[in-house]
Symmetry: C2
Subunit: 262 residues, 2 copies
């Protein structure tokens, strides 16, 4: 039976030296001491270093079974031992790096299929920065936009672990509201989710709870008017009027299906 995904979506730069509220939450959701955690650092060019670092952290929180999975080629994503590792995992952690690199290595492989199968069975997936961006069906690949502007933000298909949202990270710190507005203007049926650094959205049963130091910003263009795709040429400013914005600090719960604060 498929369940709603269980995700820990982290806006990057999460605390790894102090109380580590967010990373401890991931371990706890994955089963605590009994958790079987796989760290997948494939998004990063310093994958082995991040693999070791996160593995040691998760062990220091009491998880007894933690393995880092090195995937440096698409061939490696067919390896039966790698697939078996994910088959037995209660938690999968995607590090930061480059979201396109992760999708290029993983997309459509048997490992990818296995991740989806296990996610549907209740495996917790955590991801930070690029590892957070890849979770949605449509992900932001690149692009900077001061003001919402057509054609300045590139999107592509993501891992599709969660539907109906587009995730952006390092949100306040990199001033990404214009970039996320550009995307929801194009895809007003999707909620734009901007996650600050050292902040996470913990998703279970289609409800997200905010955890950490910053805020999660939800942009709902469902009832907004926009001139996008009607009379805007590439590079021109996009008009958005009536976007609903929610700014949620730690402890707040947001229901994605209702598009509303709980």
């Amino acid at each position: 039976l498929d369940t709603a995904p269980r995700l820990v979506i982290i806006g990057g730069a999460e605390d790894r030296t102090g109380e580590c509220v967010i990373l401890r939450k991931f371990v706890s959701l994955a089963g605590g001491a009994a958790a079987r955690i796989v760290v997948l650092p494939a998004a990063s060019e310093i994958a082995s270093q991040l693999g070791v670092e996160y593995s040691e952290l998760f062990r220091s929180f009491g998880a007894q079974h933690v393995e880092a999975l090195a995937i440096e080629t698409r061939e490696a994503a067919k390896d039966t031992a790698a697939i078996a590792l994910v088959s037995g995992a209660s938690g999968l952690f995607l590090t930061g790096g480059d979201q396109l690199r992760l999708m290029n290595l993983l997309g459509g492989t048997q490992l990818d299929v296995e991740i989806h199968r296990r996610s549907a069975q209740g495996m917790v997936v955590g991801g930070t920065s690029a590892g957070a961006a890849v979770m949605s069906a449509t992900m932001i690949v690149d692009g900077h936009s001061d003001a919402p502007r057509l054609g300045t933000v590139q999107t592509g298909p993501g891992l599709e672990l969660i539907r109906g949202v587009i995730i952006d990270q390092h949100f306040a710190q990199r001033g990404r509201i214009g970039r996320l507005l550009s995307v929801v203007a194009l895809f007003p049926h999707e909620l734009g989710i901007g996650i600050d650094e050292d902040t996470a959205l913990v998703v279970e049963s289609n409800v997200g709870v905010v955890l950490g130091r910053g805020a999660v910003t939800v942009l709902d263009a469902g009832e907004a008017t926009t001139n996008e795709a009607v009379d805007v040429r590439s590079g021109e400013g996009i008009t958005l009027s009536g976007v609903r914005l929610h700014s949620l600090p730690a402890g707040r719960r947001f229901d994605f299906s209702q598009r509303a604060l709980v």
Copy 2:
């Protein structure tokens, strides 16, 4: 008879070497060749330099009567020659600098009274950066806030040339959405107006038209729910749900009394 204020509210870093669309608009509204323009650089610590620079620019656009007014003490703001200059002006330009410095020098002086009298008679007031921030009744003095958080943003009384709005500048470039959300959470009856660099809101008859390279972001918390002042302690995150956001590129018109795109 009092008229609605005529304002050119600039988000800072406006083009001064290229087509100068925004500064030319200010001169044109002030009367073009026949304009009588006073540059007031009192917000700046390099006042005389800015006074010369803007005066030369405005003259280069064809304005024949341009004077820079040096106000370095509150005494100088009582000077009858200074007051006479504003009495005869069709346009007043407030440079960037420190909004608190400008208010400290100007606030409550006879020059301040004269500026209001002339503004009510139709004198155009232009201002950039700090010169834009001071235009509202409540101005943002200082404060940075990644996520909306109580007590992190200081506000104070501004020049009160326009009612019902709070202006923030360098908006996208300095990632100030959190800061402006913090303020509209406190004052939900005021519209938060975030103006990007090299972008202006030209206000006439309670309608603002966007001019320049970036966007003007309007935050309307009028129908939002917020926990501010109810259960938030200083430094804690503010929850805002249902803020209406408008993102307006050049050419768009916004009606402040209707709180809606025209």
